[in-house]
C-alpha cells in the first residue's frame, strides 16, 4: 500500500463525546493502515496538553492522549509556541515528547504534508 503524509491539527478546545471520539478514530485508523502521521496542537487545541486541563470522563487527559499516540507509533507531535505563550499555559508533565514549534515554522510543516485534517 502506498503511504501519504497526514497532518492532524487540533485547534479547538476538547468538546468531548462522540465528536472527540470520531476525530481520534479517524486518526488512529490512518495510523493502523501504516500512514505517516504528524500531530500539531495550536490555538485552543493546546488546552488538551495543559497541566490544569479539566478532564471529564469523555475527554482524555494529556497523559492518556499521549499514551494513545505512542501506542500507535505516532511520535511526531508538535505544539505551537505562540499558542502556549498567549494563553500563559504550561504543558502537562506527560508532554515530554511533545516538541515546541514557533509559528513561523508552521507553514513549512503544512507544506511537507499531503493531507491536512482538522478537529
Amino acid at each position: 500500500m502506498n503511504t501519504r503524509q497526514f497532518l492532524f491539527i487540533f485547534g479547538r478546545s476538547p468538546r468531548g463525546g462522540v465528536i472527540d471520539r470520531e476525530m481520534l478514530d479517524q486518526m488512529l485508523t490512518l495510523a493502523a493502515f501504516d500512514q505517516a502521521i504528524t500531530v500539531l496542537f495550536v490555538d485552543e487545541g493546546v488546552y488538551r496538553l495543559t497541566r490544569d486541563m479539566d478532564a471529564t470522563a469523555s475527554i482524555l487527559k494529556p497523559s492518556e492522549l499521549l499514551d494513545l499516540l505512542t501506542f500507535y507509533d505516532i511520535d511526531s507531535v508538535w505544539v505551537e509556541e505562540e499558542s502556549l505563550m498567549q494563553r500563559d499555559m504550561s504543558l502537562d508533565d506527560a508532554c515530554l515528547s511533545v516538541r515546541i514549534m514557533p509559528r513561523a515554522a508552521v507553514a513549512g510543516l503544512l507544506a511537507r504534508h499531503d493531507v491536512i485534517l482538522g478537529d
Binding site: N2, R4, F6, E22, T29, F33, Q35, D114, V115, G118
Partner: protein, 114 residues
C-alpha cells in the same frame, strides 16, 4: 485531478454539505474525478435525509449517484451511534478503512464542515 471528499455536517443544520455537493458537481463538470464521498460525524445525516422541496439546502445525493456514478459511503459506526439505519438509495455503509483507501487513491483530499 482525483478528489476524495469528506462531508461532516448535517444538511439541515449547516450549509457545508450543499457547498460540498456544488464543489463535486463543478469538479466533475471540469473533467475531474471524485474517488469517493465519505460521510462522517454529523455528515452521516446526509444519507438519511432525502432531497425534498421543503428543505432546498438538502443536496440530492441520490441523483448524483444515479447520474454520475459517484460512490457515496456513510460511516456505519457514526450512523449507529446516532441511531440511523435505513439510508436513502445510492448510499453504501462502510468503515473508516474506505476513507483511508479514498485518501490514498486521490490526488487531493477535501473536507466540508466540522
Amino acid at each position: 485531478m482525483k478528489y476524495a471528499v469528506q462531508i461532516n455536517d448535517s444538511p439541515t443544520s449547516s450549509g457545508s454539505p450543499q457547498t460540498g455537493f456544488q464543489f463535486i458537481k463543478a469538479a466533475l463538470a471540469s473533467g475531474h474525478e471524485v474517488v469517493r464521498v465519505f460521510f462522517y460525524r454529523e455528515g452521516i445525516y446526509n444519507a438519511f435525509i432525502p432531497a425534498n422541496a421543503a428543505e432546498p439546502a438538502v443536496p440530492d445525493w441520490t441523483a448524483l449517484h444515479e447520474n454520475e456514478g459517484i460512490e457515496l459511503v456513510y460511516c456505519i459506526s457514526a450512523a449507529e451511534r446516532r441511531g440511523q439505519a435505513n439510508p436513502c438509495p445510492g448510499f453504501m455503509a462502510g468503515g473508516l478503512g474506505l476513507w483511508v483507501d479514498a485518501c490514498l487513491r486521490a490526488d487531493r483530499v477535501i473536507v466540508f464542515g466540522d
